[in-house]
């Protein structure tokens, strides 16, 4: 025993060279309330002690309507691969109050920190609480949207000055950022920005189906249409479209409803398809499509006739039914309207965007008028082509409500009919016209055989003839993670609960949503994307039906309409900033996934 004590003594002398500090010596936290009702907090650290920056947290634990508005933190440095503070860090906590909070409030700040000694010792996480009597009169009122923890890394010099305190933007989703653009900028700038967004949207498939419609409508005005009239007609069409978008958008923003779903019910689709069939037959010259004269004379005052009213109605309806496309700018405007209730500015933004979307349509319309050939055989041909395109649009719309094989069959019949019309089975004719006709004929025939053989692919109708290839394809596809379909919050929560610790991607989808289909067939079908997506639990929220469950689901995640991709982290927390609205190309999507 005596020997032991001697040994212990000697060891104390020996390792006494390394004298570790006790936690209260290593870290000395401070916090005071300054005159501007900001909390100045710091952790004084001893020699050779460092703090992990992500372990230093400041939070308000009192629950009386006073929250952190902004937190200014010093810049951390890389230390053995971790971000750390090597010098005593100082923080400034800016506070804000809820609208209904007045007078003095006791605010409790919890300062937590954790660090190590360079000499080889890591301390336990520590925390200290401070109470302050905060005069809420000096605080700014909390903005509509809660700003969660924000951290901006400022340089030490700037922090010491601390005079210029820039508000820190929260990392947010594109549509939120756009919503903020409306909130902050001047009106001209907003309108110009949204006009630009509209022009960009015009390059997406949302607007494509409208091209045959507008050209067809112009052509159907008959011979001798002047460029001016063609322009006026296109303008009326686009204006009507813009008005429709604006009205629907404002209503959706105010009521938080799914923008287009209401108009995607089968009977609306059927009637609209019928309208297109009627238009097509008028193109073929079976009859002249006109609104009743009595109606026309009531609505239209002067010499302009039925064209304008009809085209306005078409523009209005096609905006809602043909081209429903939710993209980030649209959702942004809706978020803004929803949050501020400012329907005027939001509506103006939407209108501006729709006009932008319509510009290419006006160009198409005018050129349809201008380049219309002289009356003659060509004229009938052009009308016939647009008639066929109208029928194509009608079938395309039916895709949303009827089975694939029916629409495929219709496409096949349409193709064969048109090919025969073009003279595929006749001798002679122009070589170009003849080739087009023959190719179309054989493709349509293949399509017809495909339907009968049970194929579902428009691109590869004869796939059923190669059973082995099909099996092989199914096998390779089966090796990837499949989407789990859900329609309600409960189903989603169940799946999320089962997949704790995994990253989850939630895809809002509807049968009638063109951009969703494109997303599936282009982006999700990309081989690299498939591999990357295997890291996620994939959930597909089918909001086609748009019943109570689906509406609640969309509302919970702030989705105005599909497509929208919501990402959850390992703790099933929504990563709002990572939300994608609208179509995204495979490459940027891949980059997006890699950042998650």
């Amino acid at each position: 025993m005596k020997k032991f004590i001697i040994m212990l003594l000697s060891s104390v002398i020996f390792l006494g060279a390394v004298d570790f500090l006790m936690p209260d010596e290593a870290f000395k936290p401070h916090a005071i309330l300054n005159q501007d009702m900001e909390i100045e907090a710091s952790v004084e650290i001893a020699q050779d002690i460092y703090l992990y920056s992500e372990k230093v947290t400041l939070e308000i634990i009192s629950d009386n309507g006073v929250t952190i508005k902004n937190l200014i933190s010093p810049k951390s440095v890389d230390h053995h691969g971790d971000q750390a503070y090597l010098k005593s860090p100082a923080f400034i906590v800016e506070l804000q109050r809820d609208t209904d909070i007045v007078g003095k409030q006791t605010v409790v700040l919890k300062l937590s920190y954790q660090g190590c000694s360079e000499q080889g010792l890591c301390y336990e996480p520590l925390s200290k609480e401070y109470s302050f009597e905060v005069d809420t009169l000096a605080l700014s009122v909390k903005a509509e949207k809660a700003k969660v923890k924000t951290e901006e890394l400022l340089t030490d010099e700037r922090l010491i000055k601390a005079t210029e305190k820039t508000p820190v933007p929260q990392e947010r989703s594109e549509s939120d950022a756009i919503a903020d653009t409306i909130g902050s900028g001047n009106i001209a700038l907003i309108l110009a920005t949204f006009f630009g967004f509209g022009l960009l949207l015009a390059m997406t498939p949302c607007v494509f189906p409208m091209i045959p419609i507008i050209s067809g409508l112009i052509i159907s005005q008959g011979e001798g249409i002047t460029m001016r009239k063609a322009f006026m007609l296109s303008l009326v069409y686009v204006l009507a479209m813009a008005v429709a978008y604006t009205i629907a958008g404002v209503l959706a923003g105010l009521f938080g409803a799914n923008l287009q779903a209401a108009l995607q019910t089968p009977w609306v689709i059927y009637s609209f398809s019928f309208v297109f069939v009627a238009l097509a037959f008028s193109m073929f010259g079976f009859y002249e499509l006109k609104l009743p004269d009595s109606f026309v004379s009531k609505v239209s005052s002067a010499s302009h006739g039925s064209g304008y009213v009809g085209i306005a109605i078409m523009g209005f309806l096609s905006a809602l039914i043909v081209g429903p496309c939710v993209a980030a700018p649209l959702a942004g405007a809706l978020v803004y309207i929803g949050q501020t209730g400012d329907a005027v500015l939001g509506g103006m933004a939407l209108f501006s965007m729709s006009i932008g979307m319509g510009i290419p349509l006006i160009v198409v319309g005018v050129s349809a008028g201008k380049f219309m050939p002289k009356p003659g055989a060509w004229m009938t041909m052009v009308s016939a082509i647009f008639g066929v395109m109208m029928l194509g649009v009608a079938i395309w719309m039916l895709e949303r409500v009827v089975d694939e094989y029916i629409t495929m069959l219709l496409y096949a019949i349409l193709g064969i009919g048109f090919a025969i019309y073009l003279g595929a089975l006749e001798k002679g004719g122009h070589i170009f016209k003849k080739s087009v006709a023959v190719v179309l004929f054989f493709y349509s025939l293949a399509l017809l055989m495909g339907v009968l053989g049970g194929s579902k692919s428009m691109a590869r109708p004869l796939e059923f003839l190669k059973p082995q290839a099909v099996t092989a394809m199914i096998q390779t596809e089966a090796s990837h993670v499949e989407f789990i379909k859900i329609t309600s919050i409960k189903e989603l929560d169940d799946i999320l609960a089962k997949n704790k610790g995994k990253k989850v991607m939630l895809d809002f989808y509807a049968d009638w949503c063109t951009a969703c289909k494109e997303l599936e067939e282009v982006t999700f079908a990309n081989a690299d994307v498939k591999v990357k997506m295997d890291e996620f639990v994939l959930i597909k929220a089918d909001v086609t039906a748009n019943g109570e469950d689906e509406k609640a689901l969309s509302k919970k995640y702030g989705v105005f309409g599909p497509p929208a991709l919501i990402f959850f982290d390992e703790n099933s927390e929504v990563q709002k900033a990572k939300t994608i609205i609208g179509f995204i190309e495979p490459k940027p999507f891949l980059e997006h996934l890699s950042k998650l």
């Binding site: 032991f4 040994m7 060891s11 020996f14 570790f20 190590c116 080889g120 010792l121 890591c122 336990e124």
Partner: protein, 129 residues
């Protein structure tokens, strides 16, 4: 049977350059009693860089680990996850306790040290063979 498994595990792991870790502290006392060795308890936790230094560098040193394994059985306790035996105090991690097979504390070392200092400290107590 359990002992046989432990001993086999022990022999297998001694091929590699690491100190011999056993799963829990009771196993450690058992093996220590059998082989006439002492027990080293390392208190650590996740995200403790000094602990990682000891585990990843000092204990992986072949010269150190071969001497260590002749005299000591090592066991690791995560202060947040594992059950804490009575009497093992700490104010930071890593903290090392050296005990005999009768669970009596012989020595305590706070913090990480390089292999030279750590070895010299253990030599003072004749822990290293």
């Amino acid at each position: 049977m359990k002992k046989t498994v432990l001993i086999i595990l022990f022999l297998v792991t001694s091929v590699f350059a690491d100190i011999n870790w056993v799963e829990d502290i009771d196993d450690a006392y058992e093996v220590a009693a059998q082989e006439n060795k002492q027990v080293m308890v390392m208190l650590s936790r996740e995200g403790c860089s000094a602990c990682d230094y000891m585990k990843g560098i000092v204990f992986k040193d072949t010269k150190f680990s071969s001497r260590f394994n002749k005299g000591l059985i090592a066991v690791h306790i995560d202060i947040h996850k594992d059950f804490m035996p009575d009497g093992l105090e700490f104010f930071a991690t890593p903290t090392f306790y050296f005990l005999d097979a009768d669970e009596k504390i012989l020595h305590r070392i706070n913090g990480a040290h390089n292999s030279k200092d750590f070895s010299e400290e253990l030599e003072l107590f004749n822990f290293l063979k």
